[in-house]
């Protein structure tokens, strides 16, 4: 077992790095979408609210694996069949496996981030907005300077959980051939026929990653709190 782990350390390690990279990029996309969508949903605009509601309903409902297939196998080839040049050029980057994975996971997780960030903003007492406005701040300035920074602290722990969910979800990217941890485990299993060993080892790596991530989240949370009542 140990020997096995040692032999394949470089390969699994590389897969781990890819998994972390895909997770980070997906989460950046997810939080960016989540922030914009949450602000849109809380804004007075009817159109923005409907679009965001539709987005959340759709992407919370669609399984990430299905979305991954649609994005990677579906979209670029569809654009080519349609024969619309600009569209094809726009969707061409999706031929890249990693890029596709990041888009699919980011857009999927963005639906959850939207809800997390929306409820974090809603948790900030309305008096904070009024105090800011009484200083002459506009709604958006108050959002940027006063509300969102406070909401970020509220949203941080649940976003940490979402981060973990996305990390584990990156194992799905193996099906489109992204050589992350799970894909490496598949390759090792195929080469050695030691299925149990190969996949369990991947599991150990995931567990270790999640534990490290969780401690990082807890640590940062602790750093954020003393300034906050």
């Amino acid at each position: 077992m140990l020997q096995f782990a040692r032999d394949y350390l470089p390969l699994y390690f590389q897969g781990t790095l890819v998994a972390i990279g895909v997770t980070l990029l997906s989460m950046m996309l997810s939080v960016a979408i989540g922030l914009l969508a949450a602000l849109g949903r809380l804004s007075g605009s009817h159109a923005a609210r409907s679009i965001v509601s539709a987005y959340v309903a759709l992407f919370r409902g669609i399984p990430p694996l299905v979305l991954l297939y649609v994005v990677y196998f579906g979209l670029p080839s569809w654009a080519e069949q349609m024969g619309i040049q600009p569209l094809a050029a726009f969707l061409a980057p999706l031929n890249n496996r990693v890029f596709s994975a990041v888009v699919a996971f980011g857009v999927n997780s963005g639906a959850y981030s939207t809800e997390i960030i929306r409820s974090a903003i809603a948790a900030i007492p309305h008096e904070q907005m009024e105090a800011a406005q009484s200083l002459g701040m506009s709604y958006w300035l108050a959002m940027r300077r006063i509300i969102v920074p406070q909401a970020a602290r509220v949203a941080f722990p649940p976003l940490g959980n979402e981060f973990i969910a996305v990390l584990k979800g990156t194992s799905l990217a193996s099906v489109i051939g992204v050589t992350e941890l799970m894909r490496d485990a598949q390759l090792v299993a195929a080469a050695t026929f030691q299925n149990l060993m190969a996949y369990s080892l991947a599991g150990v790596y995931y567990v270790a990653l999640v534990i490290m991530l969780q401690s990082a989240v807890t640590w940062i949370e602790g750093r954020l709190s003393p300034a906050h009542k």
């Binding site: 105090a131 002459g136 406070q150 300034a227 906050h228």
Partner: protein, 292 residues
């Protein structure tokens, strides 16, 4: 106290040439009053409408401090919040330094004004809330810098100077790097006053700023407001502290059910309660000589 006294005499002198009934509507000079409300009304709720304010008129001249008192639910908070348009009033007009807030005239009708123009007026009005409403994620200095830096666009060094000067006025220089949660209620409220002062407002609004405080912390906050009055700040003070109103205010406005019942000079208000209702109200506060 001697200062307020002096100012009160001055205000009286300025209005002396006018008939007694007109006096409170007299402007001391060519400049418009800092605050003028003309027939302001506000109704909450559509299904069961409730008139929180009805036909409220009020003038506050530069340097005056006006106390607003009255039973709970009489519309005092709503009045203050209408003045800086945190609550949009539905009838009448509110003018700050002669400028209509919240609406502008368009073809003879009042239409809602742009957010930017409302903010332009808001930044000249300081508001202090019952529950402080400091920004918990910023230090005291950070709280004081938000307005000057991001609203007034004052360069940072000057903004810091302002913040320090304001902290000195409320006696909290040593707390500049503390977070709100590390301060007592009284200290938080003084920071809130300093935060408003940093905007160099022409008008300050206080909404029962001591009623969320432990009794032993009330004094330090009232002392700060008293000093502001002495320095000639124009203020509208909603309060349940009758002794304080009597000490600091030039005029006392008594509200009931959304209406201004009386608007009298402070001495007169306490010496000769205008209605039995006010007399009963004052007796509850046991102001020495007030109800008797």
């Amino acid at each position: 106290m001697p200062f307020t006294y002096l100012r009160r005499e001055n205000a009286r002198a300025a209005g002396a040439a006018l008939p007694a009934g007109e006096r409170r509507h007299a402007s001391p000079g060519p400049e418009p009053p800092v605050l003028e409300l003309i027939g302001v009304g506000k109704t909450f709720g559509k299904t069961t409408p409730l008139a929180a304010l009805a036909d409220v008129s009020l003038r506050v001249s530069r340097g005056e401090s006006v106390a607003i008192v009255g039973p709970s639910g009489s519309g005092k908070t709503t009045l203050l919040r209408c003045i800086n348009f945190l609550v949009p009033y539905d009838t009448g007009r509110i003018l700050v330094n002669g400028r209509l807030i919240g609406y502008r005239e368009h073809r003879g009708r009042l239409v809602p004004d742009t957010e930017q123009r409302v903010n332009d007026i808001r930044k000249r009005i300081g508001m202090v809330f019952q529950r402080f409403n400091l920004f918990p994620h910023r230090t005291v200095l950070g709280n004081l810098l938000e307005g000057p830096l991001y609203v007034l666009k004052v360069p940072r060094p000057q903004a810091v100077e302002r913040a320090k000067a304001a902290l000195e006025r409320v006696g909290l220089t040593d707390k500049i790097d503390a977070y709100p949660a590390q301060l007592s209620g009284g200290q938080q409220q003084r920071v809130a006053i300093a935060r408003a002062l940093c905007m160099e407002p022409e008008l300050m609004l206080f909404d029962e700023v001591t009623s969320a405080l432990d009794p032993e912390l009330v004094g330090e906050v009232l002392a700060v407001i008293r000093r502001l009055a002495q320095q000639g700040m124009t203020m509208v003070i909603v309060t349940h502290e009758m002794a304080f109103a009597r000490d600091v205010a030039d005029r006392v406005v008594f509200m009931e059910a959304g209406r201004v019942v009386v608007d009298h000079r402070t001495a007169e208000f306490f010496a000769r309660p205008a209605t039995p209702r006010i007399e009963a109200f004052l007796s509850r506060f046991a102001v020495p000589g007030g109800a008797g």
